[in-house]
């Protein structure tokens, strides 16, 4: 592992990797428009941009997964054309993807072996795996099967797998998106050590605070173009956000006249077996949500959030009616339509295919949830004018941008479709709104509109339950926050108590009462 240190410890003037005028088109859409970037050894270089800004396209080109239409790549000053990722790896380029590619039923060592191009024996490889993992403080048991591991541990496998190839240049795609704050801190220690060894890291993120903390230089992309190159340590989070978005990002605020009233959503000891073998069993979930209150549920994805949404919405029924109570009416056994008639409204995480039928018009998607109550259906016949009116109202109130009055849902951008889906429910004037990942994959402008709408809805007296993986979002809008872990819900913390540290510990599975954080051993 010390090979690099002796190789070229002084940062030479030639950048390790350069892209010059890199352009990639998909049909009429220009994903990357003449992008220049240069990354030197011993640097952590941030690649910033909103969803759809072109970050993924750029790193895929650097890793040889796609061919640029024009422009060139240079490696240590030499022009290169990459036929595929194998060639990139041979040069010393490694990448850790946001979505892991691991076989659940194989062990750690077997997974690593599958990902390596090498010809060494399995035994030698296992020994080297252990050595690399120890050297970087990434504890891993090579013999454990992947399905038993947490998300953080799975990411370690991916990182160790890449480190075993001894890369000079490492690409990390939103590595902290799935980590608790404590796990993220551990990762930063590793990354700083890699930098000290003279390696270059290209770090994709949209978490600005962590970029300021970690990175030496930054390239900002917006709508496929490079809009800025800067030193993030000299910038503020607000100025970085401005570069990413292009305009000032509005801050959300509550009216301050919030009146906490009677309980509107009560969950009593909800237990539910998973529908399929990889699902999560819900255990002893109880919560009480009052009118005028926003209740946040934090947690790493896959800890039972989807199952909880299904049980609360009525997509799945529970035997005991009293398990879910909406406005005083026991409804665990009632269908989603009946719960909507009681004044509940729901926004699932997945916009396309769950929240909307992608290839149907917006008016039909208004009918999708609007048929339960209201004036859209008379004696079995659909009032097409009423569905169009609902589209127009959502368009106007939530500034939904679209090419025509009633397009197909799939033709809207993520942010605009999410504004429509949230607006569709809020305009029904719900007593209880249950929303999963309200701003996932949404641009900053739309995210601000949606968060403000949730605050306004609570101001108007509704009870709002928000599940999100984005801690900053929950801390910004929620009055109380609880954490889901392995199908259980922690006791809620008030906004004042809910620090990132405490929430992070809960997300990692320790209870607040424990004084010892479970991860201490590794770092």
């Amino acid at each position: 592992m010390s090979e690099l240190l002796s190789d070229d410890p002084s940062r030479s003037d030639t950048p390790l990797l350069q892209a010059l005028g890199l352009t990639k088109r998909y049909g009429a859409f220009v994903a990357n428009d003449a992008i220049d970037i240069e990354v030197c050894g011993g640097q952590i270089h941030a690649l910033l941009g909103e969803n759809g800004a072109g970050k993924s396209t750029l790193v895929k080109a650097i890793y040889g997964l796609i061919q640029p239409d024009s422009g060139e790549l240079r490696w240590q000053g030499q022009r290169i054309v990459l036929a595929g990722p194998a060639q990139a790896r041979a040069l010393g380029i490694g990448m850790v993807f946001q979505h892991f590619s691991l076989f659940e039923n194989l062990t750690v060592a077997e997974n690593v072996a599958l990902g390596l191009d090498g010809r060494e024996s399995f035994k030698a490889m296992s020994a080297r795996l252990d050595e690399v993992a120890r050297a970087y403080g990434l504890p891993l048991d090579p013999k454990r099967e992947v399905w038993q591991l947490s998300v953080g541990e799975r990411q370690r496998i991916e990182i160790v797998r890449v480190l075993m190839q001894n890369p000079k240049f490492l690409i990390l795609d939103e590595p902290t998106a799935v980590l608790t704050p404590q796990e993220a801190d551990q990762l930063f220690v590793v990354l700083k050590r890699l930098r000290a060894e003279g390696r270059a890291i290209l770090y994709i993120s949209h978490k600005l605070e962590e970029v300021k903390l970690l990175c030496d230089t930054a390239t900002v992309l917006r709508a496929g173009r490079k809009v800025a190159a800067c030193d993030p340590r000299q910038e503020t989070a607000a100025s970085l956000a401005r570069m990413m978005v292009g305009t000032e990002v509005k801050e959300v605020k509550a009216a301050g006249t919030r009146r906490i009233t009677v309980p509107r959503l009560v969950v009593n000891d909800l237990n539910l077996a998973p529908e399929d073998t990889h699902g999560v069993r819900l255990r002893q979930i109880s919560l009480e949500l009052k009118g005028g209150e926003i209740f946040g549920i934090a947690g790493v994805a896959g800890n039972g959030q989807d199952e909880l949404f299904a049980a609360l919405s009525g997509e799945r029924l529970v035997r005991e009616p009293g398990t879910v109570v909406i406005d005083g009416i026991a409804c665990g056994h009632l269908s989603i339509t009946q719960r909507r008639r009681l004044g509940a409204a729901f926004v699932p995480e997945e916009r396309l295919g769950h929240g909307t039928a992608p290839r149907m018009k917006l008016s039909e998607n208004a009918l999708l949830t609007g048929h339960a109550a209201g004036d859209m259906v008379h004696h079995g016949f659909v009032d097409a004018a009423a569905t169009l009116r609902a589209v127009d109202r959502a368009t106007k109130t939530f500034d939904v941008r679209k090419a025509k009055r009633d397009p197909e849902a799939a033709s809207l951008s993520g942010g605009n479709l999410q504004k429509f889906v949230v607006g569709r429910e809020i305009l029904r004037g719900p007593a209880v709104l249950i929303v999963n990942q309200p701003t996932w994959g949404v641009d900053a402008g739309a995210a601000a509109v949606i968060r403000q709408a949730l605050l306004d809805l609570a101001d108007a007296g509704a009870a709002v339950l928000v599940t999100s993986q984005d801690l900053d979002e929950l801390i910004e809008i929620a009055d109380r926050i609880a954490v889901m872990f392995h199908g259980r819900l922690s006791a809620p913390l008030s906004r004042a108590e809910a620090t990132r540290e405490k929430l992070g510990l809960l997300m990692g599975g320790s209870s607040i009462a424990d004084k010892e954080p479970v991860h201490a051993a590794g770092a």
Partner: protein, 361 residues
């Protein structure tokens, strides 16, 4: 330059209308090649197939008679297919409907039963078809059995049941041992619309079915449920629509329409129950449903077009000695092209230029 298939932002309405026409054009082209290979003049053959039947009144009536069961069955199938339920066994449901309706005709034969007989036969045909279609639907909903296989296999069961009945218990004693029932009484017969012609009341019923389907699919919440369950199952569940109920419902409706078509065939143009009452209407209706874009009006047009191929095929056999099986080849090629051309509703061709250099430069 390179030709690439590119996803459209929205479905193209123009292509949705034009694609069946492109499919028909490609089919005609392929058929011409086939005719040449058979040693026939392709222009002459296509003329016999598609032009001649349109030139005399008898053939025009016959087209409507043949289109009647095709359209009725295809409307029912389109509801299934829109809801992602794959009923392939309409032919069997047609036969069972014909058997059930005929049972009333046979039992009232020669009695002084009044005008209730025909309505009762139609009702029995529809109910029996619906119940028969519910067998694969229930197996799918309860046990997860593929409805494609079970509905198809039940066709042969129905076929053999009909065969047994007309050769055994229901055989006409005065029928010289032919496997057929006696001619139905006048009260058990579907009336013709024009004196001395072939066009019968069933064609009006088919038009009524088309109009009802148009209203149900376009204007009612039930039609919406059917479309959402097929297009986006998870969104349908979120909307509170029950996919299992809709599988049962659409199978029941399509079975009822197939059964009704079956008894109308037997009580109308044929006049008695016998083997071979259907030249594969239940299967051809699958092509009609897709050629008509699963749209009621489209199905009406497609049904008339495919009826034309049946009539044209018969005439080509008589005048040009072209085997009748060529009609089936034609229908198969047509379905192939229809499904292929549908890609262009969601995708389009684009010419793009790209320069890719290989190797390290």
């Amino acid at each position: 330059m390179q030709l690439v298939l590119e996803k459209r932002l929205e479905q193209s309405r123009t292509i949705a209308l034009v694609s069946p026409l492109i499919a028909i054009a490609l089919t005609l082209l392929t058929m011409s090649i086939l005719f040449v290979l058979l040693g026939k003049n392709p222009l002459l053959a296509l003329g016999v197939y598609f032009i001649d039947p349109l030139t005399d009144g008898y053939s025009l009536q016959e087209i409507a008679v043949k289109a009647t069961p095709l359209v009725m069955i295809a409307i029912g199938l389109s509801l299934c297919y829109l809801a992602n339920a794959w009923n392939i066994g309409a032919e069997g449901q047609l036969l069972i409907g014909a058997v059930a309706g005929s049972w009333i005709a046979v039992k009232t034969q020669g009695t002084d039963a009044g005008h209730w007989v025909l309505p009762a036969m139609l009702l029995a045909g529809a109910v029996a078809g619906a119940l028969y279609a519910l067998i694969p639907a229930l197996c799918r909903v309860k046990f997860g059995a593929s409805e494609i296989l079970t509905s198809l296999m039940l066709v042969y069961v129905a076929d053999l049941l009909l065969d047994y009945l007309v050769r055994g218990p229901w055989r006409d004693p005065a029928g010289f041992n032919f496997p057929t029932t006696a001619e139905f009484d006048p009260v058990a017969t579907v009336p013709v619309l024009i004196e001395g012609g072939r066009l019968h009341l069933g064609s009006l019923i088919a038009l009524l079915v088309v109009a009802s389907a148009f209203v149900v699919l376009g204007r009612t919440i039930m039609g919406f449920e059917i479309r959402v369950v097929g297009a986006a199952p998870r969104a349908a569940r979120f909307a509170g629509f029950n996919a299992d109920h809709l599988i049962l419902l659409t199978f029941a409706i399509s079975g009822a329409l197939a059964g009704l078509a079956g008894i109308i065939e037997v009580a109308g143009p044929i006049g008695h129950l016998q083997p071979g009452i259907s030249p594969g209407y239940g299967f051809t209706a699958i092509i009609v449903a897709f050629l008509g874009r699963l749209n009621p009006v489209g199905i009406l047009i497609a049904g008339l077009f495919l009826a034309l191929t049946f009539i044209g095929g018969e005439q080509a056999q008589i005048t040009m000695k072209i085997p009748l099986d060529v009609t089936k080849v034609f229908q198969g090629i047509l379905l192939f092209y229809v499904l292929a051309c549908d890609s262009f509703i969601l995708y389009r061709f684009r010419l793009v230029s790209r320069q890719v250099t290989h190797g390290i430069g």
